[in-house]
Every structure is written in C-alpha cells, then in structure tokens.
C-alpha cells in the first residue's frame, strides 16, 4: 500500500468547470492520449463482434461501397448519370464526393450519438466521456479506409491516373473531420437531454447535401443557388480535395484555407462546449 501522501487527490465539487478554451483543449488532448488504449479496445471489440456469426465476415465492409460504386457505374453506362462536361469519369467523381460526404455525416451521427450509445459505460465507469464519444470514429475511419481501397480499384477500372496529390488525400479531409467532430460534440451533450436532436440533424444534413457540390460539379446554372453554394464552407472542403485528386490543382485554395480555419474554430468551440456541460450529462441519461 502506498502511503497516504503519495495518493493522487481528486475533488468533485459543485463549482462550475472553470477554464477557458485553452484548458479545455489541453484537457482533451491529455484525456484522449491517456485513454487511447480504451478507444482501441472498444473499436477492437465492436470490430470483432461485427465479424462473429457472419457468413461473409470481413466482406461486409466492402460489400456496401462496392454495390454503391457499381450502381454509379451502371447508371452511367445506362446514360442516366450524365452531368455534362466533366474532365473525369462521372462515377469516379461521384464516388469521391459521396465518400467525403459520407465521412462528414457519419462522423456527426456517430459522435452525436456517442454518449447515448455508451450510456452504460458513462454511468458505471469513469472513463473520460470524450473518450467514449470519440471511440465511435475509429470504426468510421476504418470504413473510409475500405472506401479508399475501392477508390483505387475504380481508378484502375477506368484507367484514370490520379494526381500525386492523392497521397495527400487523408490530410485534406482533416478539416472536414474537424468540423464534423466539433458539431458532433455539441450535439452529443444536447442529444442526451433531447433524444430527437440526432434525428433532426440527420434530416437537416440531407438537405444541406443539395447545397453542397457532392452529386454535381460547380458552377451551376442558377444564380441564387450558386451564391448559396459559394457561401457554403462544405463546398470547398469537399470539392477542393476532389479536384486536387483528379486535376492536381485546387482553383479555390484560399477559400479552402479559410474554410479549414473555420473548421478548427468550430472544433475548438465544440470541445470547449462539451467540457462545460459534460458533468451534467450522466444524470440525464
């Protein structure tokens, strides 16, 4: 037994979690780092469980995206999907866009539902809540990795040579991830109080997709719509990396930079908001 003076001391009190954004950011880094093993273990658990008692096992991860991509290709051959003058095969264009959009929405969905999914662990263990919330992203990232593999197959299938920027692709999606995390963290605490918030957000996101060039390329014909699209930061976050992969240039690089800064500000605010409210979460679960 250690002597009493060596023991770590913790205080739980009624005072409001003090601190500014900087202390929240230090805290998140510290907590996530010290509990990285937990994130890994939860991911490994869910991943293994996912494979158990399944005939196709690991194939399921690939099956969804493959069928998705195949349907694009089919529709393209059938002449239904033909958005006009694109310098790249439309199914490829679509697949990249959908992958990015899928990343964005699934991170928001997973993070915002994170506290509810792990309510049992929130109520019974003292793992930092941020860890439990973030553990869901591991699976999202894994699925994105699968998507990347399928993307490479599609490139080969179409005989398109992507630019060298494709190596930077994982870095280019970081701002998009940051935005999704920031939004998701705020929603996570609110979703505990009002359970339909996640459903509302999913619905809204479906609408937002139409003012984001995911399915189509810029510019569009309608002037007002064009202005809305231009003002939407997601436009640059999704179309930017996509153009870079296919064309090797990003015509709106400054806008991408501004949008990226915006994303990190949202993330920082999201983390801070999460830490301000998180101690009130358990009793509402």
């Amino acid at each position: 037994m250690r002597s009493i003076s060596e023991l770590p001391v913790r205080v739980f009190s009624a005072r409001i979690p003090s601190g500014n954004i900087a202390s929240s950011l230090t805290r998140v880094v510290q907590e996530v780092w010290t509990t990285r093993g937990v994130i890994w273990r939860l991911f490994a658990r869910d991943f293994t469980v996912h494979l158990r008692q399944k005939l196709l096992g690991l194939l399921w991860a690939f099956l969804g995206p493959i069928i998705g991509a195949a349907s694009f290709v089919f529709l393209n051959y059938a002449g239904v999907l033909n958005p006009g003058n694109l310098t790249m095969p439309y199914p490829l264009f679509l697949f990249v866009g959908m992958t990015l959009w899928g990343l964005f929405t699934s991170v928001i969905t997973v993070i915002s539902g994170g506290l509810l999914t792990h309510s049992d662990l929130v109520l019974r263990t003292n793992i930092p809540k941020v860890t439990l919330v973030l553990s869901g992203t591991a699976n999202v990232l894994y699925l994105q990795l699968v998507n990347l593999v399928i993307l490479l197959i599609l490139f080969i299938f179409y005989g398109v040579v992507p630019s060298w920027w494709i190596l930077m692709f994982p870095l280019m999606v970081i701002p998009l991830m940051a935005l999704a995390l920031g939004i998701g963290l705020v929603l996570a605490v609110i979703a505990v109080m009002a359970r339909d918030v996640t459903a509302m957000v999913t619905t809204v996101l479906n609408l937002v997709m139409f003012i984001t060039p995911v399915l189509y390329a810029r510019p569009v014909g309608h002037a007002l719509l064009q202005r809305v699209i231009d003002a939407n930061p997601l436009t640059y976050l999704i179309d930017g990396p996509r153009r870079l992969v296919f064309l090797g240039t990003m015509e709106s690089a400054p806008a991408f930079a501004v949008a990226s800064i915006f994303c990190f500000v949202v993330l920082a605010l999201g983390i801070h908001a999460f830490y301000l409210v998180q101690d009130k979460v358990a009793e509402r679960l």
Binding site: M1, I4, V11, S13, G37, Q53, R124, N126, K280
Partner: protein, 452 residues
C-alpha cells in the same frame, strides 16, 4: 490523530433530480444553455418538480476502514456512490478523494455478449484503466479467481448470471484500488465464490483499502463494515458504528411496516361509513352483533400503562380493549392474536387458556386487559387481532383483524443480526467442546474438527 489518513472526505454533498422526463429535458437544456452562454449554473434552489436525491451528506473514511451504506430504496445510496465515483457531479458541497477508485458498480462493464470470457477480460480491464500488458500479467490470477474452467473460451452470452458476475468480479478484484465502491453484488455465485469474495475484500481492507458497501443485506454490511451511514430521503439519518446504524436501519424498516399496517387500518375504517357488522368472515371486522369491541390498545408497562406503539426488546406490555356487550352472553372469552410481517398468528393470548372464567355477562361496557410481563419477540413490527368467542361455540361472536400494531425495537446490549425473518428470540447457552477419542458425547456439543 488519524486525521491525516482519510481517503474520502465528503462535505455537504447534495444532488437534485427532476421527477419527470419532460422536466428533466427542459431543465437540462436550460442549464446547458445558461452554462454555454452565461457561464454559470442556476441557483441551488429546487425548481418545481425537483427534489433532493441527496442533501447535506458529510462523512469521512480512513484508510482501511469500511463504511456500510444503508437505507430504503430511493434514499440516495446509489446517487452517493455515483458521486464518489465521479459519475454525477454534486449540486452542492464537495468530496475529496485520495487514491485510485475501483468500483464494483462497473462489474462486467462493456462485456460484449458475442465475445468469449477471455476476450471480455481485456475489454473490461481496459475500461477499468488497465493496459493489455497489465492484463496479460494478471490473466492467470483473474482466470483462477473466476474459476470458470473451459467456459472462459465460450461466448459470454451463454453464461449464467452467476458466471457473468464471477468473471466481472475477478477482473475488478485484480485492480487493488485504494478505495472500493460496491453496490449490491456480493450475493452472487455459489457459497465458495461468495466466501472467496469476502476473503478478498478483507485482505484488501488489511492492506489499507477503504471500502464503501451499499447493500440491503444487513448480514453483508455487518460482515464487512466498521462504520455505517443510514440515509433517509437523501439525508444522513444516523452515522456511527455499524451496529448502531444497522439497529437504526432495522428499526426504520420495522417502523415502515408499522406505518403500513396503520395505513391499511385507517383506510379500511374510513371506507366503512356505517357501523353495521358483517356476519361473515372475510372482512376486517365482523360478528353476530351481540358484542362489540371498540378500542384495542397496546400499553407499555414501564410508563404507567400508557398507550404505545413501540416497545423495547423484552419489555412487558398489556393489551386492553373496551367491550360493549349488547345482549347477555354466557361465558364469553377474549382472544388476542399477534401477526408478524411475514407470518400470521405467531402468538395467541386467550382468556380461557390463561384461566379467566366468566359466567354470564350482562349488557354493559367492560374493559378487558391482559398483562404480558415478559415477551421474547424479535425486533420488528407486529399486528394485534382481537376476537370475542364463547365457551362451547366454535365461532366468533366478534372479530377484528389488525386492530392495533406495535414495534419491538432493537436491543442495545446485543446485536441481533442473524436472521431477519425470525420472530421469536430464544435465549440460550452455547457450549463448544472437542469430542474426545471416539466416544461420542450426546447432547448439544457441536462437532469440531481441529485443524491439524
């Protein structure tokens, strides 16, 4: 002084909750908003629909001490445990904790039904703060403690609840915390496993772990704890030695049962607006109408025959009833019977049995009283029934169930922990001797195998 050796110090802990989900949602959103925008929490006062789940709870626990937390359901025990584990933050007050907290609340937390027991050890271990290497090092120990044999490689979903808890306990057991919080998990597994758990907990205590045990089982608290804390409606009702607290807890439970019997009595009486008697069995009161009993009272002998509801352990008492005879009755007899909470008619005091022989009783008002100078009822709550019969008639002239109730308090000079369902205390003298050679002694000597 041992003042510097405390591991938990709680000062004025309070926690409020909303009663309905709707309010909980509204207040939750409001609080969230006010924190985000104005950076402060609302006042500590209760808003409509809120209640204090915990109010002004203070205590201190030293290294190696264990505290038993008792109270009826909803008295705030689990809330307190969750605050100590850092899951709920208090609304008032603060708690300081020195050392690593292990919680048997987290028993089997994160277990995935499809994974095997062995795999789940790693999941549960990670959630308790152990790395893969920590668990690798102690895997043998854990598996030995859980003692699940080949089932350790079967999916957890095929486990019985006992096996599930054994595995969970085994993982928690290895974490050797400075403070251990336990919420009602000791009554699991077979006798061997339960004994192993107690041995383990005592070993932890000796090494200096402070233990807080929440349980409804007086036996479990008594076995493990030095101190006790009785919570009532979120407040500390009694704090002190474990005996004192368990006595108060038992008295409180008995008092609760007493209140229930009183409530049943008054609600039934209120339901009857006429004073007619039913001439059939089945109701609470009935008879032929020849005789009526009005008031039945339990009297304390100590306090000059004052009506009472609680008696000391072993304290003599008297039962008294006012009898109104309407038409003359030949050799009536009066009978009091006593019910315990779980058993009916544990005692009968009958005037004929006790030697009171009456001839014809003319109409009029009488008082019947029986004095019981000694009684050996166990602490608890009891109900008195009253009947008037007639010698030679095997039917009641009058009966009245649950006419009065009383409570026997816990004795202070001895601690009766052994059997909550017992209703009679029989004082005895135990002896314990070794059986010499192969000559068996008759009588009450217990067999004893000397450890060689």
């Amino acid at each position: 002084m041992t003042d510097s050796h405390w591991t938990i110090r709680a000062e004025g802990l309070s926690k409020k909750f909303g009663l309905t989900l709707r309010q909980s949602m509204a207040y939750g959103l409001k609080d969230t908003f006010s924190r985000l925008v104005r950076g402060r929490t609302p006042s500590n006062e209760l808003r409509p629909g809120e209640f204090w789940a915990l109010k002004d709870v203070s205590f201190e626990l030293q290294q190696g001490e264990s505290l038993g937390l008792v109270g009826v359901n909803g008295s705030g025990k689990t809330t307190l445990l969750r605050i100590l584990n850092g899951i709920f933050s208090p609304d008032q007050g603060l708690v300081t904790i020195r050392g690593r907290v292990g919680a048997l609340i987290a028993l089997g937390a994160g277990f995935a039904p499809l994974l095997t027991g062995r795999e789940n050890v790693y999941v549960n271990g990670a959630l308790l703060g152990f790395s893969k290497r920590d668990i690798d090092d102690r895997l043998e120990e854990i598996l030995a403690f859980a003692d699940l044999g080949s089932f350790i490689d079967a999916p957890v979903k095929h486990y019985s609840s006992g096996m599930f808890v054994r595995l969970g306990f085994a993982v928690s057991a290895m974490c050797q915390p400075d403070i251990l919080l336990i919420d009602e998990v000791l009554a699991v597994g077979d006798l061997n496993f339960q004994k192993k758990c107690y041995d383990y907990l005592h070993r932890l205590k000796q090494r200096g772990t402070s233990i807080i045990l929440v349980s409804h089982s007086v036996g479990a608290i008594w076995a493990l704890c030095d101190k006790g804390l009785l919570l009532h409606e979120g407040r500390v009702a009694v704090a002190g030695s474990v005996q004192d607290v368990l006595r108060a807890y038992n008295d409180q439970n008995a008092h609760g049962a007493l209140m229930q019997s009183k409530q049943r009595r008054s609600s039934r009486e209120a339901a009857r607006n006429d004073h007619s008697l039913s001439a059939t069995y089945g109701g609470q009161k009935g008879g032929t109408g020849e005789v009526l009993v009005h008031d039945v009272a339990v009297l304390s002998l100590k306090n000059q025959a004052v009506q009472t509801e609680s008696l000391e352990f072993g304290e003599g008492f008297a039962l008294e009833a006012t009898v109104e005879v309407k038409t003359a009755i030949v050799s009536p007899l009066f009978r009091f019977t006593i019910d315990a909470v779980h058993y009916k008619y544990i005692a009968s005091i009958d005037s004929l049995e006790q030697g009171l022989r009456l001839n014809t009783v003319p109409p009029g008002k009488f008082v019947v009283r029986v004095t019981v100078p000694d009684q050996n009822l166990m602490p608890g709550s009891y109900i008195v029934n009253m009947a008037v019969c007639q010698k030679g008639v095997d039917a009641h002239l009058f009966f009245w169930l649950n006419t009065a109730s009383f409570q026997i308090l816990q004795p202070t000079e001895k601690f009766l922990y052994s059997e909550a369902n017992a209703v009679v205390y029989l004082g005895g003298e135990f002896s314990f001797e070794e059986v010499g050679g192969d000559q068996l002694r008759g009588g009450m000597a217990l067999e004893f195998k000397a450890a060689s």
